[in-house]
């Protein structure tokens, strides 16, 4: 018995040593690579994986194109992908890992507002420039942090945009608001409510529902009693799709309005014909809006397949980093932050012009409206500045 234990201890000890050695060797090897590293943080697995991969592909494509075109002063850059599973806790631990890696000089991502606001303090501590292609919660950039930059318009612009559209279109409409109790969903819902009520609109309900088993029938029953003409969803498609389906089954025929979280092919697939008429605001343009955008869409499609949702925004975030790298002699975290803040830093992306305000928001962010018609997203309103 004694012998057996000793042998076991020896075995466990050796095994642990081997694993430690393997990790050490592999980490040394990655350090051997020269040049700088750009991290792309997105939700590559988890409920929002489809959107996350789309965004990451877009960002990767921009950096790779800049590399092949030789726009980076002959510099070698490595792209590293990180998965935060759209989970704020994972986002924080990922941010810590990224900060500790001295080779990483810029971050593109994350996908969700929840991840972005959770990880922001970590990135601030290590002065990491973070270009956010998708998070739209306004508060992220309102805390005086110098290192955060964002491409899309914020919810306090997006939700009022939707509210204004509704007010101009059907001012007397009765609206019920439901959100998914996330940073994004609740922020969007509140922002819509404020703009709509300030503009003279009538809101009859404001409900939050966090349903892991996707059963929204009691909330819908409550709404049905109030007979709203429109239902605003502050939610991503994983709630949006079952919600509209259950609405139709229970006979609530209100028009569904939502933000960018419900845009995408996954919403159409999961909601089926219940999606018809759903109108969403979105933060990236239609392929038809300009020749550059159309060219981007065809290049992306030949490489990764159809654009799901956020690839153009990811691409623009990649362009921002590529341009910053091309303009600097000594690449470093603080140098990039400085360049992105300079008033001369301006570029034309596929989603529109980009220049960062003092708080890091994009001064030229654009918004569009889409509606589901015959199972497809159809552009309803052209970009506005």
């Amino acid at each position: 018995m004694q012998k057996g234990r000793a042998a076991l201890a020896l075995f466990v000890g050796t095994a642990t040593l081997c694993v430690a050695l393997a990790i050490l060797v592999s980490s040394c090897r990655s350090d051997e690579k020269s040049g700088v590293v750009v991290a792309i943080v997105s939700s590559l697995t988890g409920d929002l994986a489809e959107n996350g991969v789309d965004m990451a592909n877009g960002a990767k494509m921009a950096l790779e194109e800049a590399l092949t075109a030789g726009n980076l002063r002959g510099r070698e850059i490595t792209i590293k992908l990180f998965d935060d599973e759209a989970d704020p806790k994972v986002a924080v631990s990922t941010a810590n890992r990224i900060c500790q890696d001295k080779k990483i000089i810029a971050v593109i991502g994350p996908l969700t507002s929840g991840s972005a606001s959770a990880a922001a303090p970590v990135y601030e501590r290590c002065q990491m420039p973070v270009v956010m292609p998708v998070p739209t919660n306004p508060e992220i950039t309102q805390k005086g942090r110098q290192n955060l930059f964002r491409i899309p318009p914020t919810d306090d612009k997006q939700a009022p945009f939707l509210a204004e559209y509704l007010l101009s279109h059907d001012a007397s409409a009765v609206v019920a608001i439901v959100h998914d109790m996330t940073t994004y969903g609740e922020g969007f819902a509140k922002s819509f409510q404020k703009a709509f009520v300030d503009g003279g609109g009538k809101v009859v309900a404001f409900e939050g529902s966090d349903e892991p088993n996707r059963d929204y029938r009691t909330v819908i029953t409550k709404l049905k009693g109030l007979d709203p003409k429109y239902v605003l969803l502050g939610a991503t498609y994983d709630m949006g799709a079952p919600f509209v389906r259950q609405m139709r089954e229970l006979g609530l025929n209100a028009v569904v309005l939502a933000g960018d979280g419900c845009y995408g092919s996954q919403f159409l697939k999961l909601a089926g014909n219940a999606a018809e008429g759903t109108t969403v605001s979105f933060i990236a343009p239609d392929p038809s809006s300009s020749t550059e955008t159309a060219a981007f869409f065809s290049r992306y499609e030949s490489k990764y397949g159809k654009v799901v949702s956020f690839a153009p925004l990811g691409f623009d975030a990649g362009l921002v980093i590529a341009k910053a790298l091309s303009e600097m002699k000594e690449p470093g975290r603080e140098a990039i932050v400085k360049i992105l803040h300079s008033p001369q830093f301006e570029l034309q992306g596929v989603t529109g012009r980009i220049r960062f305000a003092e708080n890091g928001d994009n001064l030229y962010a654009t918004l569009v409206l889409y509606r589901v018609e015959n199972g497809k997203w159809v552009l309803l309103k052209q970009p506005t500045q």
């Binding site: 697995t45 939050g208 996707r214 009691t218 409550k222 079952p242 006979g251 999961l270």
Partner: protein
């Protein structure tokens, strides 16, 4: 109160009943919290999805296959993980941790095979459900009510009348005594895992007909199943039915007047109240302190 809310409560209660029944039948015989039961429920949903959507197999056949497949997963869990632990007379805490381990393992396996995104079995046109006492009910919901009702009654009759059912009760009451009387407790444990897991798998497919499926769907399901089981009386078959129904109704009636975000809080508040005031649940099951 709108009859729709009562109906919603009964329907979500029916799912809780199936999970709680499966959980209870396993708990009676092995006396530990088989947490991986939630993952077995998710397995049922995914087998149903794979067969129906990828295999194009008719829904009745897929349903049966998913339930039986989940049963097999439950039995394998017992044979591969719990049985060796039982042989070593591992303490209860070890079983609990092992069952968490199995839960995470199965959940990650589902994620690797099917991906993490939300999937849906439901195809075809979404239409308004049938009118039923001023409420609306869909085909999938009628199916949930019928299957849950039949399985509950069937299980109750089985435990009362069938030889194996009686053996299960004997082992639940006194494992040593039962083995003296010639019952093989291991056979009974195996049967309990098989039956319990079939029930979980059935619940999984039924939910998949009705809403979406995600690899993480098992966690909330098992938590609600355990609450229903404790509220009804832990390990009791009629208790699981009453507890499930009570929980479903309480949650849905509860959020009728307050915000829907409180739904889970209502469930856990009920759990705490029962644990403090009536730990034996509705059925008044006698519990020794260390069992809970």
């Amino acid at each position: 109160m709108p009859s729709q809310i009562l109906l919603n409560g009964i329907i979500s209660g029916s799912i809780y009943i199936l999970i709680a029944l499966g959980f209870a039948i396993v708990y009676r015989t092995v006396k530990f919290f088989h947490f991986a039961h939630g993952a077995v429920y998710a397995v049922g949903a995914y087998i149903g999805y794979a067969l129906m959507v990828h295999g194009g197999i008719p829904s009745v056949v897929s349903f049966l296959a998913a339930a039986l497949g989940s049963g097999a997963v439950g039995v394998c869990t017992d044979r591969i993980v719990y049985w060796p632990l039982r042989k070593r007379r591992a303490p209860d805490m070890v079983f609990l941790i092992a069952s968490f381990g199995v839960f995470v393992f199965i959940q990650n396996l589902l994620q690797l095979v099917f991906g993490a995104q939300t999937l849906s079995i439901r195809m075809g046109v979404v239409k308004v459900g049938h009118q039923f006492f001023n409420a609306v009910i869909t085909d999938a919901q009628i199916l949930i009510l019928v299957v849950s009702g039949l399985l509950s009654v069937g299980l109750w009759v089985f435990v009362r009348q069938a030889k194996l059912g009686k053996a299960m009760r004997a082992v639940a009451d006194d494992r040593l005594g039962a083995s003296v009387a010639g019952i093989d407790p291991e056979q009974v444990v195996l049967a309990a895992f098989a039956i319990g897991s079939v029930l979980a798998g059935a619940a999984g497919v039924l939910v998949a007909y009705e809403t979406n499926i995600e690899p993480t769907m098992g966690m909330n399901a098992i938590l609600k199943g355990i609450i229903a089981s404790i509220v009804g009386g832990i390990g009791s078959i009629p208790g699981a039915v009453l507890g499930g129904l009570f929980l479903g109704l309480a949650e849905n009636i509860g959020i009728w007047k307050i915000s829907a975000g409180w739904k889970d809080s209502i469930a856990f508040a009920i759990l705490i109240v029962f644990l403090l005031i009536r730990p034996g649940g509705i059925m008044g099951v006698k519990v020794r302190g260390e069992q809970l």
